[in-house]
Symmetry: D2
Subunit: 473 residues, 4 copies
């Protein structure tokens, strides 16, 4: 059955078959929403907005908290579904479910707070007779467009704060991985969310364009690729945009750091989710005196990783999402090698599997250096001074997270200051995110910040009420 | 001399002559910046961004505070300049200067605050060994595009918070009223602002497009018309947008209100700045039992207003900005009359002067009802119940501020809840703004909120620093 | 068995028998802690402080949330226990349990937030090279001394925020109602709270003095009577004090208010918990034109209330806590009558039952007017103008909450401004409290504010960390 | 003339002659306020409280800002007065004046902010029909009792936030240094502060007791010695107390630190204001491998310091406040030497001059190790591991600030965590304070926190306004 049909009131014309990226097996079917049906989606979303804004804060909070409990009770099913549609390993998928639960609980907390402030009108001469406040009000209809790589938690990061803020959501998940999103929405409804508050639409670029350009949509929250992000920004018109478009994360390893921790952290940061991770470590910059030792150990540990069936408990690296994605990554490596790069290991694709791949001597002109690879590919590069390392770290125009391994107080704080990234992790790889922190990048990495409290603020708007006390004037 | 040339490093090709809207006399000349020179502007702005981010907070604050003092010392010159280039009356212009001083002082305060927060990483299981914080960092280059109607304070609302946040600004003021903006920038530089932090570019739509689409610009803060706002939103690409596009403000007058205060407040709210005011009162909704009495008194008081030379102390309504603006307003009134509206007074344009004009019986299909008139034109409309009044108030799709006169507690709070506006003023017209409050509209009125603290947050971005305490892991 | 023995490591010398205020039946026994054993209590509490501060925030939060769930699952048992030891009616007791669950959930949320701020050191000239932050740290050992009238939720208001903040608690509940407190502590421990974090000590004034004057106790949070509050403040020495000492709440009823709502609200506010309620309505000030009508209706509704067995579902007013309490209240009424007051109904005590009692014409010199009665006794008094009403409202030197019934916007806001109370309820009696709001009084009513977030801040202290960046100096 | 007479309405009975601690010369006379006159002081303060609470925020702010400007214009006079009455060197005195200006400006900013919050009543089931907020209201009368060592800025830290919060102040400055306080109050009044808002009372312990125990005083903000602090805490009764009682600051110097910076920082931290400084460095703990080198260099630099006339530009260490203070300090050194300590330099008092004195081998039982010396005396002590250093640092029961010199990231953060102090300065001595940061100690060092924003919050109280929307119930 097409699980999302009820969420859209749609007559099902076409169906999208969702398949397992590891073995291509079909694992579910969803109804495809045509671009033509956007007016009806908006009707439903408009009703949803009316219902959502009238839900008192305690109900929004209770629904979100209940959803978190229901997911916790159904954790393994959610995890297996992520494995099956997104190809993450079961360990990674379980962690994603745990984080999703936290994201919803944080949203439940937020729904009960941050309601506004008293405005000190009498701090301006002439306004002594005025008093008032501002409240935080819903925006109305928010479009949420989400990617395949965290098919559950990145959806929760949009739905949670939007619901907490009293909004209606038009959700368009990746058509490659819609099942986790639909299951999350079903759970929200099972937990008491009025059905009309979320409208799910699954489909391609044409549908996306129709949603994005609809005048009644007050905000678009998008996580995905740069090209789509740019297209959205050009067709959205006057509406709020929040975007997480990925990065090209550097990690600096200083000579004085904890060597073992650095190797271990970088291996984990580079290959998590088969590198399909916007904060995955793409470039490891190693201080020259330890470069060779680091390289050897890093490659040795990389070679120990098992690539394969993501449902196997001992698999470290699962498949990439599609053959096209493998092809794109593989071609970047080819171009790098042609340009003079040295391949240290990996780079033998087999179907959707692409083993962890390490390069060195990559020219700075290569797209593997400058663009987001979004694959289990990592570049090693030596440097001399921290100055040089920071310059290298900042060279691409995309930046979300970065890392530095060092035990030197000055170097740590200096790197934190000068690396142009939304987050700098000290003694950790770039791949650390806490769901309550502000999350987003500098430069072309993103617009705005996610993280529950920050998204909640973005998804609400102040409304000022000012009383002119006529008898005091 | 072309006062802004030094602000742009530009070779002056063409010049723009600024003229007095009251009598057409030329009052100054500025260099026109061609769209071709945008690359050089960006070079300068990039240098400015580097300098701006390295200014410690106490310097940013001291410069803003010093600027406020210099303007206070030069208040009358600023006021006269506003009168001459924008046509506001001298009383209105003085008030704008006072508000500009406050805006800059609020910015000076803000520069010393709101530096970030400690992040409770240990509130997530598994992150016990982590500690850290986020700081508020500059965005880089911000484009500020400002309108003619508040040629000084609306510029200060963008420059102040941008400087407080450590940014470089590319300022494009209205080419009709660039002199106040240039004088403000000169004063900032005289107060110690490094010259490169603000780059002034004056010119037309082509220049605007080139600035707006420049990739290095990280944010566009625009106040102006809807059409331009839509054009910007379509060409900006991935950058933050903040927009104030105006409104169509309703004021509700309940039978139980203070009658005299209601008439006086509505007269002031309707005609301030010759109605060229995004929160000016455009539609006055009066409860039926007092409708005729209100109408008669309102028209009587309107007829007492003196339209004329804005430098005369007893002028109440100055000229509109251009003949084109008069023509547009006048045509809206004509169309309303043709559609059945009754003209109660006004509507005899003479040059740029357009006298206060009152209409009633305006059909809801007229653009005078639905669009922003931005002229000294006001519509009176009776209603029966508060339900009806709120429905009428919400009927256009633009909404910034609204007002209600009543002494009934329930009605006041009910209207505040249900009128879809960014600010609801109780016992006041829609035309009240305090420069520290969040300012902006619901629906199509705006994106984001100005008001110094809110703009400062929008013009900065969080940067997370997380230390993984390896010995505690 | 003496349920609290394990909580104190104490050798049980004496036992306190807890009895039902309705029928005097013994309902439980607790060990009495002697003042001599305070050094051992402090040893245990010191260990508890060490353990508490090392609990990561997620554990503190999880324990508090789990406790809330366990209480929700055991709600009726908690409610019956409150009825049996405190004499509240079952309806009132159930509401207290519901509020206690909310208080603990709010504390669980708070444990994950409010961790500190980044300090803008560079906003001071000369400190450019410094950066840093402050965190919120535990105080150490907090003594919590709680009263009989809300034997569960007022304990939760101290334990919840103290645990959220990482403190150890020395809890001394009322020896009249220790069982709910012990059951709450047992539930916390069952939910995973390390045992040493709370030490329960039950006993009399001598024990209280020994705890209060112990140097290691860093804060005393006390809710109870004025005399004890004063004694504590004189013997505590250098430690933080938070006190809620009660009030003498006025409610103003304006002629233009909703009459039925006013009567109903005042009846509920006056007799809840047999008036043993620090925000209970003690004085009702009624505008003269409706005074007689209000009086008659108020007395009529009072007479409908059923006083009796608090376990009966239809009982409205249960017993007072002790015969001594009845005697104190009754004597205040006697003195008022002697001084000229008119008794309108009530005032026939029977054991611990004291029926709802209404007085009028009470001279302003009576203690029934000036002191806290803490019994189901209410005074009616007419007034002419709102000025007079506010003067009457403010006449005692105790003030916690107040109320006003009016639909006049100016009067409502004027009263809110000028009544000297920690909370002014508009169109409600004084007896409204939301557990997240700041709660406490002006004048001699209290010191500090409870309400979870506010108590959390009070129960933690900032610690500044400042790094001098030597290379930047 | 007795400059403070006008501030108290007092009939002058006795006079206090203020003399220069360097040469004993009389430098001014103030009226002594007798304890009997406290009722009149309270009358005046009560009037002041009424006036203060009615001052709109913009006036409070403007007065504080104007005062800051007036002091800036009169800076050298203020500095010389500090030198003459407190014996600080002219360099130290100028810095104090600069800080006082900043404290007042921070207070001016604060007066315009932090006005309250909207309360999300609807986040609790059953409260959906309620809405409201809390404002920050004045406390009423605050007693400020200030010490001699920062006779200007420590007064500003109490007056500034108290005025910002709308309070009346009863100021009792040290009778040794009342002139700076009186000059500050005169300047506030010259800047427009209504006279009755501050009442100055100068006198001894009896006066202090009378003020402290007055029921109408709602808060006592005290900076001074432990004995007085304890006495106040026992006689104050139910009023808020804020206390800064000093410390016994340790600084840890790790082997891996910047040696020169450590020596220089410790010399400055130890002798500033002749050690009469609650965050002055009293114990320097040096890692053993560099202990002897550090000791030799530290003593060498100490011996270069010039003790003498504080008005001479090249004097490093001025006189102590009184001969009694010298005697107390000298006796502590004598007792330490008797107990086995080694005197490395200093300890030859001459009148009120006491040269910088360095001890080593001080037994942990000495009062020079355990109590606050408040004199230019410092103890050197070697240690082996950072564990040992932290244990030594924490051994006294007083703690305000501490410092550590290290470039090791883990050690720096570990020390920051585990040193029990209100502020831990990394790569700095304990003697750093920024007037906007939260300032106060752990353990017996203090109660509450100063720092303008924090003091403002402490000196105001929330008032809740809740509207029950009857039509929505």
């Amino acid at each position: 059955m097409m699980q999302n049909a009820a969420r859209t009131n749609q007559t099902v014309a076409d169906a999208i078959i969702v398949s397992d990226p590891f073995n291509g097996a079909p694992i579910g079917t969803v109804a495809e929403t045509s671009a033509d049906s956007v007016p009806e989606l908006l009707d439903r979303a408009r009703t949803g907005a009316r219902i959502a804004r009238s839900l008192p804060r305690h109900k929004r909070s209770a629904i979100l908290e209940k959803t978190a409990s229901l997911i916790a009770a159904d954790k393994e099913d959610f995890a297996v579904l992520i494995v099956r549609e997104a190809g993450k390993t079961i360990t990674q998928a379980r962690k994603e479910v745990t984080r999703c639960i936290n994201t919803l609980k944080l949203s439940a907390d937020e729904a009960k707070r941050n309601a506004g402030e008293v405005i000190p009108f009498d701090s301006y001469a002439g306004s002594e007779a005025r008093q008032g406040w501002y409240t935080r009000e819903p925006l109305g209809i928010i479009a949420a467009i989400t990617p395949y790589n965290d098919p559950l938690n990145l959806v929760a990061h949009k739905l949670g704060p939007a619901i907490a803020g009293g909004n209606s959501i038009l959700l368009k998940p990746s058509e490659l991985t819609p099942l986790s999103a639909v299951k999350l929405v079903d759970t929200l409804v099972a937990a008491g969310l009025p059905d009309e508050i979320i409208t799910v639409a699954i489909g391609g670029a044409e549908l996306g364009r129709a949603i994005v350009s609809a005048k009644e949509v007050r905000m678009i929250s998008f996580t995905g690729g740069f090209a789509t992000g740019e297209a959205i920004s050009k067709s959205a018109g006057i509406k709020k945009l929040a975007m997480d478009l990925g990065g090209n994360a550097p990690v600096i390893v200083m000579e004085n750091s904890d060597f073992d921790a650095a190797v271990e952290g970088c291996v984990s940061g580079a290959y998590w989710a088969a590198g399909q991770n916007c904060i995955g470590t793409q470039r490891i910059l190693v201080q020259r005196p330890i470069y060779e030792r680091f390289r050897d150990e890093f490659v040795a540990q990389t070679l120990k990783l098992k690539t394969g069936n993501p449902l196997d408990a001992d698999t470290d690296v699962g498949p990439m999402i599609t053959e096209k994605a493998v092809g794109r990554a593989s071609a970047m490596v080819e171009r790098a090698i042609e340009a003079g790069a040295t391949l240290l290991c990996g780079h033998q694709p087999s179907g959707n599997l692409y083993p962890p791949t390490v390069l060195e001597n990559v020219p700075a002109t290569c797209d593997a250096w400058n663009e987001e690879v979004f694959a289990p590919i990592v570049i090693l590069e030596p440097f001399d001074s921290i100055e040089d390392a920071i310059t290298l770290a900042n060279s691409p125009e995309y930046s979300l997270h970065a890392g530095i391994f060092t035990n030197d107080l000055e170097d740590a704080l200096d790197a934190a200051d000068r690396i142009e990234a939304g987050g700098v992790m000290i003694n950790d790889s770039s791949d650390y995110r806490f769901d309550a922190m502000p999350f987003g990048g500098f430069k072309y990495g993103s617009m705005g910040r996610e993280g529950v409290r920050f998204a909640y603020e973005d998804m609400t708007q102040p409304k000022v009420v000012c009383v002119n006390r006529l008898k005091r004037s």
